[in-house]
Symmetry: C2
Subunit: 249 residues, 2 copies
DNA sequence: CGGCATGTTGATGATCCTCAAGCTACGTGG
DNA sequence: CCACGTAGCTTGAGGATCATCAACATGCCG
């Protein structure tokens, strides 16, 4: 059941490639996942012209920090990011994990400053979209406006799903639901759905799901012992998806 | 400290007035809170022309139900609504409460169907905005597009704040934070900030915050005994806001 | 190779849930 | 207008889930 890592490219490897060279949207491997999807050739070139391709970020580096002044949205080009919200007393909540093609920073649009910090989980890169220019452009290009509405809406729906998990589900349901959702997202991006490397630490997973790190660790070994997953460090294989689906409803 | 109810109009009373007659946006008491804010006169009339003013809904009636086909966003005109997400196994999570001026249904934009059910908490009414027409209109009217981006973004930021509460905070912090946020929202709408009627039941509050009813009940009496609030049924007075602020950080 | 961050496993305990019983309030119908 | 029934709310006792504390193992990076 475990896919051969030599056959199925791992996210890490692909990320490394993507870092190398990236010139225009229409030559980008992410094109089909990314914002410009559906744009006409001319419009695409216009959008292309406003995009700032950022230099790669190392693990732990910030794409932006909470309370910094907001100017751009970012599309993840390679690697993975987390967004972290910090409360007045210092407690933190990871509000989301973002994979290539995902749009980050949308919660800042209505204010002048970023509402959370975005941090690279691995070596990663992202394309910056200056918001004022994006706004003008989306005014001129209906398909782009629609894309942006859709992205905002999708993120909303996602968050509400997460609210359900945090509010109503048990620790096991949260964790398995998280793994299944991650699997789906890898699959959408053309990676293996049943065997992948977790881009985030247990600490991050635990925080994101409102659990203690020890709980996550225990549940993972429990799943492993039950033969439902194979788990060696950050490498995860989902061995019995039907059963896992039952576990998270 | 408790405001006189005869001086400060209660939400309920205002709601009753709003129900009566409502012809155009520019004669609407909600104008300054609502979507058309900032639109020029001509644009406002155009927007006005696509709005479907719904008939009032009684407590418990649905504005729309989850999985119904999506066609309109709604602005709350009077009263209050909750949105409920139902899981496969029947468990429910209230993902939000909506007061006059709030926009409902945005999480459905990226799909063909509503992602949650919207239910009136009291006698309420809402204005329907057919999404396809709104989309066209926002293409033509920059200020409207901006408004919609802002609303979507604000809801996102809200949800992420709620994620923080559900993931990291104690029962007391959740509850007090909820009351304080509600107070702020009433204040923004011109109602009394320190004395108001809860539009939702304890059951709804508990569900929304991921708690048991009994916990909410106990904490409220605890706050009441401590003299921080005055609580008689759905009537709530916030007596010691500084202290309350400390309790929720 | 050494040091530190991360992860695992076990023992203990607190927060909050569940179950249970009774109370209050509200709306409906007699 | 009052009686009744139901839904919502309160309060108490007991218990489960999951957090905390602690010690140790692992693995990664310089």
């Amino acid at each position: 059941m475990i896919q051969n890592a030599a056959i199925i490219p791992l996210l890490k490897d692909v990320a490394r490639q993507e870092h190398q060279l990236q010139l225009t949207c229409d030559s980008c491997a992410l094109y089909s996942l990314c914002l410009p999807l559906g744009l006409h050739r001319n419009d695409l070139e216009t959008l292309d012209s406003i995009i700032k391709r950022s230099k790669p970020l190392a693990r732990g580096q910030a794409l932006y920090k909470m309370a910094e002044s907001f100017d751009s949205l970012y599309v993840v080009r390679s690697g993975a990011f987390k967004t972290t919200l910090t409360a007045a007393d210092g407690r933190e909540q990871i509000t989301g994990f973002y994979l290539p093609g995902d749009l980050i920073g949308m919660d800042a649009i209505h204010t002048g400053q970023y509402q959370a910090s975005a941090t690279a989980l691995t070596s990663s890169s992202a394309c910056g979209l200056p918001y004022d220019r994006l706004q003008d452009l989306s005014q001129a290009i209906p398909a782009l406006q629609q894309q942006i509405y859709n992205r905002l809406s999708k993120e909303l729906a996602n968050d509400k799903q997460l609210l359900m998990a945090l509010g109503q589900k048990t620790a096991m349901e949260k964790l398995v639901g998280f793994l299944m959702a991650l699997s789906r997202r890898f699959e959408e991006r053309g990676y293996a759905a049943n065997r992948f490397q977790l881009p985030m630490s247990r600490i991050d997973i635990a925080n994101h799901l409102g659990l203690a790190i020890e709980t996550v660790s225990r549940l993972l070994t429990q799943l492993s012992n039950g033969g439902l997953i194979d788990c060696q460090g950050k490498m995860i294989a989902l061995l019995d998806k039907p059963q896992l689906k039952i576990l998270c409803n």
